[in-house]
C-alpha cells in the first residue's frame, strides 16, 4: 500500500517509493522538492517567506523560510543517504493571489520567494530541472519519487505534470 506523505504550511518532510509526497493550497508560498533519482529518496518543503532574517522569534521554524528550509531539507536528505552531488530540484508556487494597483513589498511576496529559492539552490549547486511558478492561481502539488514527476493541480488552469 502506498501512502501520501503530507507537508503542511512551513513544514518539511521526506518520502521514498512507493509513497508520494504532497502539499495543498500553495499561494505565494513555494513548494520545493529535492530528490536523488538513483537512491530514490526525495523531500519537500512548503516555504512561506524568503529570508529567515525576517523572523522576530527567538526560536526559528526552519521550514518557514527559503534560506533555512532548503538547507535543512538538504541536510535531512544527506542524513537519509542521498548523494549531495546528484540532488536535483523542482519547484512550484509563488503566485500573486491578489492584484493590487499599489504594490507594496509584502504584496510581491510570491516572486520574492521564488527568487530566493533559486538563489539558495544555486548556492548549493543543485540544478533546477523544472518549475511552475508565478501567475495568480493556487496550486496543489504531489511528487512521485519513483518517476520524479511533479503533478500540479490548479483550480483555474487545469493539471500539469513537470
Amino acid at each position: 500500500m502506498s501512502e501520501i506523505i503530507k507537508v503542511g504550511i512551513a513544514d518539511i518532510n521526506l518520502v521514498s517509493p512507493p509513497n508520494t509526497i504532497r502539499t495543498t493550497g500553495l499561494g505565494s508560498c513555494v513548494g520545493v522538492i529535492l530528490f536523488d533519482q538513483v537512491k530514490k529518496i526525495a523531500g519537500m518543503a512548503h516555504i512561506m517567506l524568503p529570508d529567515s532574517s525576517l523572523s522576530k522569534t527567538p526560536t526559528l521554524n526552519e521550514g518557514k523560510y527559503a534560506d533555512t528550509a532548503i538547507r535543512s531539507l538538504y541536510d535531512m536528505l544527506i542524513k537519509r543517504g542521498a548523494n549531495g552531488k546528484t540532488l536535483k530540484a523542482k519547484i512550484a508556487g509563488g503566485a500573486q493571489m491578489f492584484k493590487f494597483t499599489s504594490g507594496s513589498e509584502m504584496m510581491r511576496i510570491g516572486p520574492r520567494n521564488v527568487e530566493r529559492v533559486k538563489e539558495e539552490l544555486s548556492a548549493l549547486k543543485i540544478p533546477l530541472l523544472a518549475s511552475d511558478v508565478g501567475g495568480s492561481s493556487g496550486r496543489t502539488i504531489e511528487f512521485n519519487p519513483e518517476n520524479t514527476l511533479l503533478t500540479i493541480k490548479t483550480v483555474n488552469a487545469g493539471t500539469k505534470v513537470i
Binding site: 493550497g25 499561494g27 499599489s102 495568480s136
Partner: protein
C-alpha cells in the same frame, strides 16, 4: 505576539469586535439581498496555520473571496469568503436576470466587479463599526478578489503574523441564510497584525500585562 499574555478577557474583547463588526456587515448584506441573514457567535481562536484553512473546509476547497488590508492605527487583514456556489447565487440575486459562473475561467468582469463591491460594502461596514467601537483610526485598502483554493488565499493574510509566530489569532464570524440555518454561507475573517493586538486592547481599556 506572546500568546501567553492573552487572558480570557482579551479573547472576549476580540469576540465582541467580531460580534459588532460582523453584525453590521450582516445587516448590510441583509439589506442588499432584501432577506434575513443570520450570523453565528464569532469564534476567536489561536490557530496553527494549518487549522486556519480547516475553518473553510480545507486548504484545497475552492472559495470566492474578497481581501483587503486594514491600514491605520491597528493594521491587519480582512477576508470575506464564501463557497463558490453561494457566491454565484448571491451575485445572481444582485445582478437580476444574469447567470453567474465563477469557476470556469470565463467569469464576466461584471460578476467579479459585483463580488468586489459586495466585499467592499461588507468589510467597510465591519471596519467602520470596529473603528467606532475602539476609537482607532482604521481604513480599508482597495479590495481585491480571488476565486481559488482557500489555503492559497488565506496564507496571504498570514505573512505579517508568520514573522513572529507559528500561530495566528483569527476572529471568525460565520453567517447563514435564515431560511436554512444549518448551512454556513460564508465567513468574515479578521486577522490583526501582531503589533495591533496591544493597541486594540489598550483602546478598549484592557491592556496586556507589560
Amino acid at each position: 505576539m506572546d500568546f501567553l499574555r492573552i487572558q480570557p478577557i482579551h479573547l472576549d474583547v476580540l469576540r465582541e469586535i467580531g460580534n459588532i463588526g460582523a453584525g453590521h456587515a450582516a445587516t448590510a448584506l441583509s439589506t442588499m439581498l432584501n432577506k434575513a441573514v443570520d450570523m453565528k457567535v464569532p469564534s476567536v481562536n489561536v490557530t496553527s496555520f494549518e487549522e486556519i484553512s480547516e475553518m473553510v473546509g480545507g486548504a484545497e476547497n475552492v472559495v470566492a473571496s474578497v481581501f483587503l488590508r486594514i491600514v491605520g492605527d491597528a493594521p491587519g487583514c480582512m477576508f470575506f469568503m464564501l463557497p463558490v456556489d453561494q457566491a454565484e447565487r448571491l451575485l445572481e440575486d444582485l445582478l437580476v436576470g444574469q447567470t453567474v459562473q465563477l469557476t470556469n475561467g470565463d467569469e464576466s468582469d461584471i460578476s467579479l466587479s459585483a463580488l468586489q463591491e459586495v466585499g467592499n460594502i461588507l468589510s467597510g461596514s465591519y471596519l467602520t463599526s470596529f473603528s467606532d467601537f475602539t476609537g482607532l483610526n482604521l481604513q480599508p485598502s482597495v479590495p481585491a478578489t480571488s476565486i481559488d483554493m482557500a489555503g492559497a488565499i488565506l496564507s496571504f493574510g498570514l505573512f505579517e503574523v508568520s514573522t513572529v509566530s507559528d500561530y495566528a489569532i483569527v476572529i471568525d464570524t460565520a453567517f447563514t441564510d435564515i431560511e436554512r440555518q444549518d448551512e454556513v454561507k460564508g465567513h468574515f475573517f479578521l486577522l490583526p497584525d501582531p503589533l495591533s493586538f496591544s493597541k486594540i486592547f489598550h483602546a478598549l481599556g484592557v491592556p496586556l500585562d507589560e
